[in-house]
């Protein structure tokens, strides 16, 4: 599971191999502005080493990389996976250990957490660190940690005792995408668990916020950079404790599945068509260790087992287990089951001999599948021999053991076998219509429902989902009274060209309304999606968010704020990949004190086919090169691959007008020891150059900045072109007119 953070850091290398999944979409003007602004923040560049001293063929050429690393800022992003958490309330001699799970879904970051009470023993006056022989090189051997009962980050996802379970963290605010700031606000509701039989089972203790800051992890954490600390404040703003969180695993949760079976029953291990325990649970971020244990469980009273007999067999035959140190589920494969033909989560209600719910399931291998057409390819077969439906039933029953109920939203894991078989539509036959994953809402539950809901031995099966807290997706309230207009600069574009848009947020109400100061991409307030002619959805988000604080202002009735954005690539790759009509939906959203609000607008653009082979090749180059986006957004000589793709586009007469400003922008700015070359940039800008209002303003700013060094001819040439382009703009922008006037002045 890759991480945005790691990817973003790759952009700091001289020759990036930034993959498709890099966060994408940009406002060229925004990001070039950002680049300019960053120059003031950067430390002085180190002196270059003379070629003769380094280019000896023996030493790697690292100097350039060092320079670039110094020049480019560090981006901060939350790594996906499980974080070990410690919350220390102020003024107490105890704390809470736990986990926070961070998941990215498209443009959203969804997170949740659980806290377990921990009071370290202090029965001896001397610190154990003074007397214990410690092996600091391996935290798993660090006896200090063991003495205090602290979880070791080196052991990955920690497991805590059910008896110490106290809180669910319903995380409502967290860092999305990338940020230049090392601090962000973590907002969460703290839900106290009152007990499985208590009413109410949960109490919301209110909203808390913590300004979490990236810092270096202590020894033992697998990723030194993915560690954060912050002070936690309650809704009154009072500091109530300290929170640390450090990344420990790419998975969100982990469990063991132990399989015992009678001698002539098969162990459900895979579907026979590539689906197994791990790759099914990879989709929900669970690490599953499968243990094939006893293969000779004896039958008690004939071939058919009652629920009680299966429970007794689980207790008798399974390996030693402590559910407070391991999440272990048990599967018993038998010939037949009394109460059901195929499978059952018999261990539902904590009313059995050990009063521990949701530990075990049973599955029957000798049910004969009816010999009717409903059962498709497996009709008439013995269930255990029909690998796909047999394995699916095991997944289904385990889903019940993890707290899930039936879900008929699709033909996924938690639908019932009968419904799926009856739902096959010719020519597809059962079990080919099985969807080998959990329905979307079940996936979220497996990732983010409270530990005590999903772990074996937690709350009994059968409580309504609605009783339990669950972290939200990005909940957003419609910003009524505001209208987001999206206008394509060119609504017909040749394939391979970036699409430029003017966006404006207008107050159409009669009241003053709070809006963000900026709706630029870099503000972090704008994102969206592109729907291609086949209905596929691709998302775009800011590549970099330049501010951590997002100030608001009031927008008067009839007033509007404007900006431009340029789209080329998104989280799922190139956004405009084939000819046809594309719908572009832009969403502006921002945080208010009590929640998240936003509004959206949409427009369409038509992408035309390649006009000739040369155009096709150039389009292929820019669309298949992820770094084209970086060249467009960040700009710099170091982005070799992106700049090369843009050069290919410039060499093509169809795409040239669409990329001319991007190259001109690069040339017009100094990079390293290279000086700004306004003259070369000027030769690229023509009256047919495609530039958004934002890009025209940016070009004007660069031109004014170069006033002292540029020759009069180039200055007049460029200003003349900008004037023409501004006049041709299909979106009236007063600030653009002011900018052009200021050049003339």
């Amino acid at each position: 599971m890759s991480t945005l953070k790691r990817k973003s850091r790759k952009t700091t290398s001289a020759k990036t191999d930034n993959p498709d999944v890099a966060m994408a979409a940009s406002s060229a003007s925004d990001f070039s502005q950002y680049h300019m602004d960053m120059e003031d923040l950067m430390p002085p560049l180190p002196e270059m080493v003379e070629p003769s001293t380094r280019d000896n063929g023996l030493q790697p050429n690292i100097t350039k990389k060092t320079v670039l690393e110094t020049m480019l800022p560090r981006f901060y992003s939350l790594n996906v996976g499980c974080y070990l958490v410690k919350f220390s309330p102020i003024g107490t001699n105890y704390h809470y250990d736990g986990t926070i799970r961070v998941q990215k879904e498209g443009t959203n970051t969804i997170a949740s957490g659980d806290l377990y009470y921990h009071k370290p023993l202090s029965i001896w006056p001397l610190s154990p660190t003074l007397v214990v022989n410690r092996d600091k090189s391996d935290p798993r051997q660090d006896l200090t940690l063991a003495l205090f009962g602290e979880p070791s980050p080196a052991n990955g996802i920690p497991i805590f005792s059910r008896g110490n379970y106290r809180y669910y963290l319903r995380i409502t605010q967290i860092l999305e995408s990338l940020s230049l700031s090392k601090t962000f606000t973590l907002g969460f509701e703290r839900w106290k668990f009152n007990g499985a039989s208590a009413s109410p089972m949960w109490t919301n203790e209110g909203l808390f916020k913590a300004d979490m800051t990236f810092t270096t992890a202590p020894a033992g954490y697998p990723s030194g950079a993915d560690y954060l600390t912050g002070e936690v404040k309650n809704s009154a703003g009072t500091i109530v404790g300290n929170l640390t969180m450090g990344w420990v695993a790419q998975y969100l949760r982990k469990a063991t599945v132990e399989i015992d079976r009678v001698s002539n029953s098969e162990a459900p291990l895979d579907s026979g068509a590539g689906h197994n325990w791990q790759n099914t649970f990879d989709k929900v971020g669970w690490k599953i260790d499968v243990v094939q244990s006893s293969s000779n469980v004896t039958e008690v009273s004939g071939d058919s087992w009652s629920d009680g007999e299966m429970h007794a067999a689980m207790l008798s035959w399974r390996n030693a287990v402590n559910l407070d140190s391991e999440w272990r589920f048990h599967i018993l494969a038998v010939n037949e089951i009394d109460s059901t033909p195929r499978g059952i989560m018999y261990d539902a209600y904590a009313s059995d001999s050990n009063n521990v719910p949701r530990e075990g399931i049973g599955i029957a291998t000798h049910w004969m599948i009816p010999n009717t057409s409903t059962w498709g390819k497996v009709k008439g077969q013995r269930f255990g021999a029909a690998k796909a439906p047999y394995f699916r039933t095991a997944l289904h029953e385990l889903g019940h053991a993890m707290g899930l109920y039936h879900n008929t939203a699709d033909f996924g894991i938690m639908n019932t076998t009968d419904v799926i078989a009856a739902g096959a539509v010719s020519p597809t036959q059962f079990p080919d219509n099985v969807k080998w994953e959990h329905a979307a809402d079940d996936q979220k539950k497996l990732r983010h429902m409270p530990d005590i809901f999903v772990r074996p031995g937690g709350v009994p099966f059968g409580t309504s989902y609605s009783l339990h807290p669950l972290s939200p997706n990005d909940e957003q309230e419609e910003a009524t009274g505001l209208e987001l207009a999206v206008t394509a600069l060119r609504d017909v574009l040749p394939i391979g060209a970036p699409a430029r848009f003017e966006i404006s947020l207008k107050n159409i109400s009669s009241e003053l309304l709070p809006v963000p100061v900026s709706i630029s991409m870099k503000s972090g307030n704008v994102k969206g999606k592109v729907i291609d002619p086949s209905g596929n959805v691709r998302t775009f988000t800011p590549l970099v968010i330049c501010v951590d604080d997002h100030p608001l202002r009031y927008l008067g009735p009839g007033e509007q704020i404007k900006d431009s954005l340029t789209l080329l690539r998104g989280a799922e790759g190139a956004l405009f990949t084939a000819p046809g009509v594309y719908t572009v939906e832009v969403e502006a959203s921002w945080d208010m004190s009590d929640g998240h609000v936003g509004t959206s607008g949409r427009t369409t653009v038509y992408i035309t086919s390649a006009e000739n082979n040369a155009h096709a090749r150039a389009a292929m180059d820019v669309l298949s090169t992820p770094d084209t986006l970086l060249s467009l957004a960040i700009t710099g000589d170091h982005l070799d691959e992106g700049n090369k793709a843009i050069q290919t586009a410039l060499d093509n007469e169809v795409l040239r007008p669409h990329y001319a400003f991007i190259e001109a922008k690069r040339l017009a700015q100094p990079f390293g020891r290279r000086k700004a070359d306004i003259k070369a940039a000027a030769t690229l800008l023509k009256e047919d150059t495609v530039m958004s209002n934002g890009e025209i303003k940016k070009a004007a700013k660069l031109l004014k900045k170069a006033n002292d060094v540029v020759d009069e001819y180039s200055f007049k040439d460029v200003s003349s072109v900008l004037k023409v382009l501004a006049k041709k703009s299909n979106v009236k922008d007063e600030s653009l007119e002011e900018t052009i006037a200021s050049i003339e002045a």
């Binding site: 629920d307 109460s339 059901t340 033909p341 195929r342 499978g343 059952i344 989560m345 018999y346 539902a348 289904h396 029953e397 019940h400 109920y405 039936h406 879900n407 008929t408 639908n415 019932t416 009968d418 419904v419 009856a422 099966f461 059968g462 409580t463 309504s464 989902y465 609605s466 009783l467």
Partner: protein, 130 residues
């Protein structure tokens, strides 16, 4: 909620005294199943029946789909699965996949199920799917 077509069809069946597919009959399992096919709503008031769904639809193909009210604290014992009517009893697969046998009594408008714990759950017919 009672579809006009169904009502007219039902009256027509009674008036000609026909025993045909879609009309009431207890002569076979299949026709029994047809009898229960349709949408039902729970008659509330019995505390022990709270764990059963508020709405349930029994379909022609032996599959049912049920829904609980939003404010319920318990996930319904019947949520989605299969049913099979056998004379005066019905086997219904439950939320943990156990198939439970219930005694059942039905007339045109109501159905009463008796669970193994002795609880009686009453439903009122919303419509019939002949």
């Amino acid at each position: 909620m009672f579809k006009k077509y169904n009502l007219a069809h039902f009256i027509l069946c009674l008036s000609i005294g026909a025993v045909q597919q879609g009309c009431i009959s207890n002569s076979s399992v299949k026709q029994n199943k047809m009898n229960i096919v349709g949408n039902w709503t729970k008659v509330k008031g019995n505390a022990c029946s709270e764990k059963y769904p508020d709405e349930i639809e029994f379909k022609h193909n032996g599959i049912y789909q049920a829904q609980a009210a939003n404010e319920t604290t318990m996930h319904p014992v019947w949520d989605a699965g299969t049913f099979e009517l056998n004379g005066n009893s019905i086997n219904i697969s439950t939320s943990n996949d156990a198939v439970i046998k219930y005694a059942v009594e039905m007339d045109n408008e109501t159905a009463s199920f008796n669970d193994p714990d002795g609880c009686t759950i009453k439903y009122k017919r919303l419509n019939r799917q002949d």
